[in-house]
Every structure is written in C-alpha cells, then in structure tokens.
Amino acid sequence: MKNQMTRRDCLRIMGMSGIGIGTGLGIDKQLLAQDIGESGFQSSVIATNKVQDNRSNAVLIDGKVIQPRRQLPVLTETDVLVVGGGPAGIVAAIAARRAGAKVTIVERYGHFGGLWTGGLVLLILGHIAKGPKQVCQGIGEEMMRRLEKMDGAIINRRPGSNPTVDAEAVKYLMVEMIEEAEVQVFLHCWGVDAVTQNNSLRGAVFESKSGRQAILAKVVIDATGDGDIFAAAGAQFEHRSHNVGLVSRIGNLDRIDKTKTSDTEKPKRLGSATPVRGINWVNLTGPEVDGLDLATLTRMEMNHRKYIWNKTQKVRKVPGYDNVYLAETAPQLGVRITRILNGLKTVKVNDIKNSTRHPDVIGVGGASNAEHGEWQIPYGALIPQTVDNVLAAGRCISCDIRMADLVRLIPNCFVTGQAAGVAAAVAVRDRCKPRDANITEIQKILRQQEAYLG
C-alpha cells in the first residue's frame, strides 16, 4: 500500500516540490494552470492603466482637508449585521443564524476571536459563580466542548476551574462553526460608520482594501468592543479609561534547569501554562489610559514590546533559564474598556450583593474565581436609550464602573453575544424594533439554545 501512490499523493508531492518545476506531465499542466494564470507567470494583470472606481479622495481646500460627499457601494443586504468577530460577535452571528435570520459578520482582522485569539487572552475567566456553578452555557459552552474534542486545544477544562485555550485552535473552530452556520463573512473589514435613518440604524460602513462600502441590515449588532457603531450612530455612552496591556507567549519553559538557581533568584511573572507544551502565556496589565486615543495606543504598542523583549532577555540571563525565549507578542493590543453604552438598563455591582433578578434576564455572569454569586444581565443593558435597530454585545454593554471588569470577560461576551443574536433574529422575524421585541420569545429561544438564564 505504501509504495502505491495515489494520484492525489503524487500531485501533493509535485505541488510541494515546487509549482514551477512540475511541468513535465500534461495532467499537471492542466491542474496548475488555474494557479499560474493566463500570463503563464505567477501574477497576472487584472486591469491596465486603471483609475480607482468611484474615487472621491479627500482634497485640500483653503488649508482644510475635505472629504467630498459620495455615494457608497452597498456590498450586501442582510437581516442581521454583526460588526466584530470576537467572542461576542461570533456567538451573536451563530445564535442569530440558528434563530432563523440571514446573518453577515464583518471583522477588522484576518481571523476570528478578537482579543481572545489576536490578543492572546487565552484564559477563560468569569464563567463560574460561587458554588462552584458554571453559569456560561449555550454556544459558549458548545465551543468549549468542541475545543475539548480537538487535540491540544484546551487545558484545565474541569468543573469549577478556569480553562486555557490555544489561540490557533480557537481561530480554526470559529471558522468551522461560522461555516456550519452558513453566515456570510467579510474579513479585513473595519466598521467605521453607521448608516442611519430617522435615529435608527439601517446598516454600517466599512473600510477595507476594496474601499469604503456599506452593508444594509435590519438590525446591527455592535460587537466591536469599543462601541464604534453605536457611538457613530449617536447613541449615548460613557468614555472610560482602563489599563491597556499586551499579552505575550514565552517558550521552552520545559527546558529550564531549576537546579542551577536558588528559590529566591528564580524569575517571577513567567505567566501560566497553555495547551502547547513549554509555552506560557504572560499577561500584562499596563497603565490606565484612553484606549481610543491613537497616540496613546501607539505608545502602548511600542513601550510594551520593548518591555516584553527586555524582560525576556533578563530571564534568559538567569542560570538555567537560558533557553527561554519570546515566542510572540500578541498581534492585538490588550484594550480592556473604552466606550460603555448608556443602555435602557445597567448591570450594577449591587446586583451581585442583592442577587437581583431581572424580568428581562438574557444571561447570567459569574466570578473570576467563583468568589461570589451569579448576577443577571438584563436585555435592557444591550439596548441604547435613544438609537434604534442596534444592540450592543460584549464588553461595551451598559454597566457600572465596578462591573466593567466582569462584563468584559470572555464568557460574559459569549452570553451577551448570544442574547443579542437571538434578540436581533426575533426583531427581524417580528418586524419590530429590538427594544420592542418579545422578551418571553427571546428567553424561550435562548433556552432552546441551551443558554442559562438563572
């Protein structure tokens, strides 16, 4: 069997050994022609002497940079548009699709997962309330179960413990789940503006390599984390500062010779284990700054990378630690909190103390280390006070300043994402504004989707 090569194997080897070389056989020529293109060269000309279509570049008039008015091409029309492909956005898209809506999701980076993957926030915190009792169920829990079935995707997945995932496994799983759900996807697509009509969202505008375009939708879910879309639409929000850090991963921790150093000299702050052997993820909290300020974000990126490199160099100088190396710094800066929606309702810290029960509960949050009880998230916390047809999901939902650090945790983003997705689908189905959507129906579908509502 081993010696008998199938045609497929043969092609694979051919392909690997260099596309340009394998031209001897006719069959290969036929197959590779698609890749090579008409010109017979690796690249082919799509258009010559071209001037950008519909161009309306900014112009300098009287020393002022003016962006001319222009009509934007509409990329697509959909029922539910999800802006942002992080934990909240992905779950929102899947939930809305499963609830029967036509869904489009756009993501500014080339992969899904947001800060979970791009920010390397690999530890799942916040899904366990005192007991311990796991309060994050539904699609978030489904992801956890599927990660469990994958090889090397998740560790510490035990009742009552906080698991750690592998970022690449999560990126893969999210692609798989989004494709299964048949959600329309646009990556490399940065939501920059809202399309409004009479104080109501009708879609959003994106910047990408294909230029500025719009997507029209019946309901928009703002899962940008920064609330970019609801802010652009004129919804009221609170602009807060918070710590901006940068996660990194260091390797070869399994090759440390601990006999060479005394306990007191052993370097600290080496992070915690990941599913990859010898690799730790290292958190960094960073200073409290404005995460919406360009100059600040730039400074944070540069300072943090310098610090992380220098710190790793120091670690390498400790006897026995010379093999430790900096595997990567996260592609995405760890911005925690920026804009927080002023919603119809607000998640308050006293809700935990008083075990408040909301009639419009759409999800339940836990604690970082099961140190306190569960707290309910009301549907009103996703809805802006004035603007219609937009729902917030993820870290930017309406919450008081003490709750932001709980609301922003990944499992709670799953929970609010799923709720926003279902609510949007219900609003589309019933042809009503999300604020008028039947809450009993939303809760019913959420329960059908195995969400825990207290």
């Binding site: 710590n243 600290k268 702050r269 992070g271 958190n283 909290t285 810290v349 970082s368 280390n369 650090d405």
Partner: protein, 414 residues
C-alpha cells in the same frame, strides 16, 4: 422576734408557699432569659436585656468609660432595688443562680457540706471596680449574666469552639456547686457581692439617718467591709495601672466598630457574646487567646468570609457594658476598625493576573490600582483617609489559603 425563732405551722406553710412561688418566678425568669438569648434574628433589643440587667456591669462600665449609655439603665434599676431588697436579684431573677442552685441542692442531697466562709466575690468586685476607675475592670467577665449569655454561643455553628469554652466554664461552676453547694452564689459571684455591698451601704446610711430603728439581719458595723472594699479598690487600681503601662500586646486584634481603646476593651468586655450573636454576617468571633491571655474570649473580627457592612451597626446596639459604643449609620464610614494592607507576594496583580476584586468591593472607594513604571505592573494603593478597615477587600480577595489583602489594626498599620 420569738415568732421568728419558733415558727408555727401556718408560718411554715407560708414560707413553703412563698418558696414555691419564688421557684415559679425564677423558672419564668430562666425561661425568659433563654428566649431572649436564643438565636432569632432581628431582636437586638431582647438580646441586650439579659446581660444588661447586671448592676455590676453597669456601674463598672460607667466608671471605666466615664460615660452613661441608655443601656446601663436596666442595671442601675436592678442596683437601685438591691439597695432596699437585699440580693433580690439572686433570689428572684438570676438565671445562672437557679441553675447553680439546682446543682447545689443535688450536692446537699449527696450530703456535701454547704459552702459558708470565704468571700472571693467581694475581692473580685473590689478589684474590678478599682480597675474600672483606671479603665481596666479586671474581672468583669466573671459577671454571672455574661457567663450565662456565653452559653448561647453553642447555638451558632461558626462559634462552636467559643460556645464549648463558655459551656465548659459553666459546667465547671456546676461541678463546683455539686461539690461545695452554693459556692458560686455565696463565695464567688461578684454580682452577689455587689448586691451585698449595696445593701450594706444602704443599711449604714439608714442606721445613721434613723439610729433608733432596729434593722433586721446580722449586725454589720460596716467598717471591716469598708476597709476590705477600699483595699480592694486600691489594689484594682494599682494592677490596672501596671497593666496600662506594661500591657501593650505585640499584635492587636481587630475589634468591632466603636470599640473603646484596646486595654480598656479587654477589661470592659464582659464576654457575654451579644455582639457575636447579633452580627448578621458572622464576622465576629471569640478570641481563643491568639492575642494574649488578657483578651481571651473577647470578640475579634474576621474577614475571611464576609465584612463589616456599611449599613449595619447591630453589635454596637447590644453591648451591655459600653465596650462598643458611639456608632451610628452616618458616622460608620469614619469609625476606624483597622487598615488594609497588601502583600504583593500573594497579590494576583503581582503575577500579572487579571483581578480587580478588592477594588470592586471596597464600599468606600479606598483602593486604586496604580501602574508602577519601574515594576511595569499594577500595585494596589490604599487611601488611608478613606479606608476604615471594614474588610470588604479581604473578604473578596480570591487568593487562598492566605489573603493577599488583609486588614490590620491601626496601631500595626501605622
């Protein structure tokens, strides 16, 4: 007079009926006391009654704190009646007395000789009152009503150890009463001795005012009593002042909000357990001797599970001796229990973990996380102006087994 020496039948019947009636009253008092002390929440007023009835506690507290609290009124009334009715409280009301009398009766049936002679209670009384003047009542804890109240800590699950200690103390007294009937009431009880003193004083005053009147009872010249009492008072004051000078313990425990100064507290606290039982969040425990022998069985705060709530002042309402005073809901944020301190070797932020528990739960916004450029990490900083040591941060801190943020008494913190 002759009638009394040779009582006729009717007198005997009368005495017997009177004894039965008195037994009934005492039983009712005992049941009442038990009902007052049983752990039913939201009945602070009832909880305070039993230990507050002691005039010994009330007078000592007035001397020690130099203040008069409304709660002392009960004890003062008992004392006032005792001026005219010798040991009326012992004979009619004392729940502890009834229990010990039961044991004594049993002892007498077993042909044990009743206790007659020595009076330690008088010395306990004098030493305590003398100490109280200088702010350290030495033996206030030996008040029988406080001892009786302590028994009811057995009903609190989290206070089992303290309850057992109190129970053993009372059990010891019961055994003593069995072996030497009436040893407590006649020989040891400072509350009894205080009533003795009160009636002696009133008799002396009355004999001066009305020398012709023949007062019943034994003929007291008053002088030996006075001499002993003054000697005791002086000794009490002397030992209290020695304790004041030398008694600084290295580690000071956390006391309930509004506790008087530490040394006074150790003496003034009658160990009745009222504050412990009134606390709805079970953060007050009995000291089992970690902070020196002088403070044993006094209440200390523990914040491992919960904290001293900003909307609660119950323990300050039920203290019969004024050891915990002067707190209302308005001034509670300013009443200093202690001060929070962070151990960066334990704090999760020290290992770059994501945690904001102490900041989130601080009711007074006293904690902020400040980014240290040098360490390149967040460090919790506590605002000494705002922190009153309520322990919310300690209760919320997720590190275990030791908490990274803990409240220490102000003395150590500063």
């Amino acid at each position: 007079m002759s009638n009394k020496k040779l009582p006729d039948d009717s007198a005997i019947t009368q005495t017997s009926t009177r004894n039965h009636f008195r037994l009934l009253v005492r039983l009712v008092c005992l049941i009442g006391a038990v009902l007052c002390l049983l752990p039913i929440r939201d009945k602070d007023a009832l909880l305070a009654i039993v230990p507050a009835l002691s005039p010994f506690v009330a007078v000592t507290s007035i001397l020690a704190t130099k203040t008069i609290q409304p709660i002392f009124g009960l004890g003062l009334i008992t004392g006032l009646v005792a001026l005219f009715r010798h040991r009326w409280f012992c004979r009619w009301a004392c729940p502890m007395g009834l229990c010990l009398d039961g044991a004594s009766c049993l002892g007498r049936r077993l042909k044990r000789k009743p206790f007659q002679t020595m009076s330690i209670g008088r010395w306990l009384l004098a030493l305590t009152l003398g100490g109280a003047i200088l702010g350290y009542p030495l033996f206030l804890w030996s008040d029988p009503l406080a001892l009786f109240g302590g028994l009811f800590l057995l009903t609190e699950q989290h206070q089992l150890l303290a309850g057992v200690v109190s129970f053993l103390l009372v059990a010891l007294l019961l055994i003593f009463s069995l072996l030497w009937p009436h040893v407590w009431c006649r020989g040891l009880c400072p509350l009894g001795a205080f009533q003795d003193l009160l009636s002696t004083m009133s008799r002396s005053v009355r004999s001066i005012l009305r020398p012709a009147t023949d007062l019943p009872g034994r003929d007291h010249s008053g002088h030996p009593v006075a001499r002993r009492t003054i000697l005791g008072l002086l000794m009490g004051s002397a030992s209290a002042s020695i304790l004041r000078i030398t008694g600084r313990e290295p580690s000071q425990p956390l006391r309930p909000p509004g506790a008087v100064d530490e040394l006074t507290f150790k003496g003034l606290c009658s160990r009745c357990g009222n504050c412990i039982r009134s606390c709805p969040h079970n953060i007050i425990r009995r000291d089992t001797g970690q902070h020196g022998l002088a403070g044993i069985l006094t209440p200390v705060l523990t914040f491992d599970k919960d904290y001293c709530r900003e909307d609660c002042i119950r323990c300050t309402r039920v203290c019969p001796s004024g050891a915990i005073v002067g707190v209302n809901l308005d001034n509670k944020p300013d009443i200093q229990i202690g001060m929070a301190q962070v151990d960066m070797n334990l704090c999760l932020l020290g290992e770059d973990h994501e945690c904001s528990a102490c900041m989130r739960w601080c009711p007074y916004n006293a904690i902020r996380y400040v980014f240290s450029e040098a360490e390149y990490m967040l460090v919790p900083v506590i605002d000494a102006e705002k922190c009153n040591g309520c322990g919310a941060c300690e209760a919320a801190c997720p590190t275990s087994p030791r908490k990274a943020i803990r409240v220490f008494s102000k003395v150590k913190a500063s």
